[in-house]
Every structure is written in C-alpha cells, then in structure tokens.
Assembly symmetry: C3
Homo-oligomer: 161 residues x 3
C-alpha cells in the first residue's frame, strides 16, 4: 500500500439495499484512507439518491409519473436483492445491521458526503425515468457517461455494482 | 484526462436489457473518446449477441436444445432486471428510451461495431449452452478466459457487468 | 501481455452459482497465468465458502440462526441467478457443465486453493449474518473493507461480481 493518494470510481447501477450498502462500505473505507472517491449512480441505483418525501414536479408525462411511482424513494425504501420476502428480508437485514452497529444506507450517505465522496447522478437515466434535480437529495452532481469515463481514467480501482 | 489512448474491457455476464444497455452506453462513450474497447460476453450476456431468427443447427443434444429454447434470442427479447412485470416493464422502458431519443440495444450494437468496439463471445459458455458460431450475429470474435485476461492486463478500466 | 507478474482482485458479492462460477473461472485462469489473485467474499458470496454440513455453534441469536437457516450452505447448494425454476435450472446447468467437462464450483474452489488464490471472508458480513469462522471451509482468511482496498490498490484488474 503506497502513500500516494489514489482515486476510485464506482458505477452504482443496482438499486437493491444490499448492493448500495456494499458500494458505500467500500467508498467510505476508501475515503477514510485518503482516496478521492466518485460514485456514479445510474439506472436503479439512482433511487438511492431520491428524496424520501414526494416532491411536486410539474410537466411530467404519464410514463414518467409511472416510473416515479413504481420506483423506491430513497435509501430507506430499497429492497434486498435476495431473500426479500416482500420486505421482511430487508427488515431483518436492517435489524441485524443495527445489532452489530453497522450504519444504515441513509447514515452511510451522510458519512460519504462528510468525507467528500462525490455523488454523481447519471443524466441519461434522469431523462429516461423522468427524474428531476429537485427530486434528488442535496449535494448531488450531474454527469453523463463521458464524465464518468473521465473520472475512471484517473482512478486505479473502478467497480460496476 | 490524458491524451493517451487507453483501453477498456467489460465482462458482460448479465443478459438483462438494462444491464446490457448500460454496458453499451459506457462502451460507445469510451469508443467515441478514442479508447479501444473490448466487450467479453459470457453466460446470459451472450444472449444479446444471438441472432433474432431461429438458426437451424444440426447435432444439438436435448439439453442444448432446451437451453436454446429457454434463452432470449437477441437484444430485442431481453428482459429488465427489475420491474419486468412479464415484459410490461421492458416495453415501458423501451417507450421511455424512444421518447428521449436513447438508442435501443440493437442500435447500440450497430454503433459499437461501427466504432470498432470488439465483441467477444466466451467459448466456454458457447460449449456449455450449446450455442454455435452461426447462431450469433456477424462480427463477433471467440475467446476464453485467458484471452479476456490478456486484454484486461492492457486496459485501465475493467468492469464486470 | 507482459511478463510482469500482476495482481487481480475480485469482490464476490453475489451468491448465485453462475456468478460464483464466473468468478472462479477468471480467478483460476489468472492464477494459471502466474497472477496473484485475491477473492474477497462478502454478503451472499460468503455462502460459497460455507461448509456443506451443519456446524454446531453456540451463542447465536435468533436472528443469526434465521440467517443461517435461510442461506445456502456451500457451493453445491447455490442457485442460478436466472432460469432457476426452483432448482431445476441449476441442475440442468450442472449437467451441461459436466457434459462439457467444466469443473463444478466445489472443484474450482479446490483448484483455486492449489494455485494459491487467496480466499478472504468479509468480517462485517460475518458479524451481520452471524457466521462464525468454523462454519467456513479451511484456508479462508478474514479481512474488512480496508484490507480489500489495500489489495485492490496493488492490482491492475479489480472486479465486483
């Protein structure tokens, strides 16, 4: 392990609680070790950055409203990728995490921000799913695939989650 | 971002429409920026490279015929990884993509080829699933894990999708 | 492809048979080419390293016992990520693999160990799911996210599977 400050990027494609959690565990550990970390949220992963409350937005098409309704709003409503059992699995997982003092995804997002981890929302996904800037939590940047690649080119670890 | 031409590889393991789409968005953006991109299609990902029409192939075992019947043929028949709702979700996604002028997976494969992205089919998967060369679209190379690793060793971004 | 010995890491997050298989195919090919390979098993991926027999462990909470019961024990009981059909799909896949002389996941773990691939279990996952050291197969190291990142910083290919 060298002393040189290195960079890490992650594409967070998946919106399941366990995968988003794994992404933040790695991101926060890297940031704690002094790395620059950029997380690029795309497709379902973007749901982790939605505000939990309903945000009034005008001018959405029916299709965009449908996507908005069907997708989870924010980290607390994400489901497990396995053994979800209609929400019981993610409830069990949250209890087990709390019992072992593992931070929730909500808390991990806060820690990530405090540590300077960059949270970037994929503009193409926002377009396709009809998500607007004001529906996402504060402190999120916007970028496309070219922006992601520019970051990845300068990083030594690039993961797709 | 440096001017040096760099290389990228992706293992496309997943055969869901959204993941294959994400892979091609990144691949095509990298190729447009002048990178050499190699996409290594393995397991379910290989379905994205199947010809949409039924190809007559002799000498298949019952097991191989079964795999061939159960797996989607080509990009147009891929399903979403989430909210698929027996195909309704992927139909909605395609409509939303069209409304925002995002290319379909079929179109993205064409763009990738035009830009010189290398599409490689995993020979072990072809063996196990009984897929023959003539069942895949034109312009696909064949290689095994060693071939993938040789490419990955020369690349600066390697993703598993 | 250079002669320099290079390093590879993989986060094995997924516990499905096909994804674990893909991870070991890449790991074993890299090790055969002389690379140092570290596989970091986290979340559901850890199930691939569980002993197949029931291990008597005292002091588990009800929640930990529940996780232990619900999760597969070892590579032979892993399911496919797609077309599982209540186990029929993974049975078909195993038959197709055997017909083409592809090693099983169990055999691949043995080959990996013989080739010096490091198998590392995520301590946070073990805590949260209540898995104990003696429930895992022999030859597994324990580490956290910081340990994984130290390895990834020295590797030229890092995958999240």
């Amino acid at each position: 392990m060298s002393d040189t400050k290195t960079k890490k990027t992650m594409v967070v494609f998946s919106g399941e609680m366990d995968k988003v959690l794994a992404a933040f565990v790695i991101a926060n550990a890297a940031a704690a070790m002094g790395d620059d970390v950029t997380m690029f949220f795309t497709f379902w992963g973007l749901n982790a950055l939605r505000r939990p409350e309903k945000v009034k937005v005008s001018g959405k098409s029916t299709l965009e409203k449908l996507f908005g309704l069907m997708m989870p709003r924010g980290p607390a409503s994400l489901q497990l990728s396995r053994m979800n059992f209609a929400g019981a699995g993610s409830w069990l997982m949250k209890r087990a995490m709390a019992a072992h003092k593992v931070a929730t995804v909500e808390e991990m997002i806060g820690i990530a921000k405090e540590q300077g981890v960059r949270l970037v929302a994929c503009t193409m996904t926002m377009d396709v799913m009809g998500l607007r800037r004001e529906e996402l939590v504060d402190g999120v940047e916007l970028a496309g695939a070219a922006g992601y690649l520019a970051d990845a080119d300068e990083a030594n670890v690039n993961l797709f989650i």
